[in-house]
Symmetry: C2
DNA sequence: ACAAAGTCTATTAAAACAATAGGATAAGTC
DNA sequence: GACTTATCCTATTGTTTTAATAGACTTTGT
């Protein structure tokens, strides 16, 4: 299950992707637009900054902005930074592998085999989807919706 | 992340699938074979029984056994029963759908679109994998391993 | 100097997770 | 019908994670 933290982060990043190249955006603005508790969002953005996903400027005229173009920031990266590994089990994680203490033989563990498939499928989707992809899909959906209401 | 509860459950179910048709198996036996805390396992098996996945017999000569053939019990079903919906977000769950309180428009939410893909991929894998499939894969791995050591 | 912003550390409340404890109930055995 | 073996059921506990709040600190522009 995706934590609220990560959900908030993705919402904030989508806002920042929309504003990319137009200067810093205030925490308060993002919090208000997306109905995220202001102080909580502060912590989240700070963490994203420390991980190099965001950059910031202090003082008047300051705020947050993406550290890279929207096409270069993947959902998978964001989820891993805030929620940890995508893998359902540590023993199938590529980025944070850990042997199961009680596992006698990893090679013959069926649970592991199945969960490895799940990890791969999840990573495939999340690592190949960028903020830019999300913006594009939002736009498509908005246009599709308009076209639909228009046709009624 | 898969909970220990569900991991224990799957291990227990694999044992019971191996013994399918050969009468009841004791909780204690399963606990010992798989190094699962005895009392914790009790709760888990009870829950699986109440969900119709297992059946049991009390008293001497009693124990637990599968309620259906191993080929008819899917990993997805077990995970849903113990860990809840597979979906990373309630708003993309088929079995436990819940609208996001703060979502203005579900149709244009990019986070939702991406997580829907993840849910679908996960369900595809877990719902199409049965206990029988897992047994088969274990056997294949064991044989493969033997062949490997033999060739050295 | 002052105001506006992000930065940092600590704390707290609530929920979920993992496990333990102990008596209740049912079924077989002698 | 007493005894033993097993599951059944409810409650409780300790730990960790999640979500959020609070407040003082630092930097920057005017």
């Amino acid at each position: 299950m995706l934590s609220k933290k990560t959900k908030y982060a993705l919402k904030a990043l989508i806002v920042l992707a929309k504003e990319y190249g137009q200067g810093p955006v205030l925490i308060s603005d993002i919090a208000q637009r997306e109905e995220i508790p202001r102080k909580f969002l502060e912590l989240i953005l700070l963490e994203l900054k420390n991980q190099g996903i965001l950059q910031s400027k202090k003082g008047k005229g300051g705020g947050y902005f993406l550290g890279h173009p929207p096409a270069q920031i993947s959902v998978g990266h964001v989820v891993r930074v805030l929620d940890g590994p995508l893998a359902p089990l540590p023993c199938v994680s590529k980025t944070a592998y850990m042997r199961c203490r009680e596992c006698r033989d990893e090679r013959t563990c069926a649970i592991r085999m199945v969960m490895k498939e799940v990890r791969e499928a999840t990573a495939q989707i999340l690592d190949s989807t960028s903020l830019a992809d999300m913006l594009r899909r939002i736009e498509l959906a908005v246009n599709g919706k308009e076209a639909l209401s228009f046709s009624i």
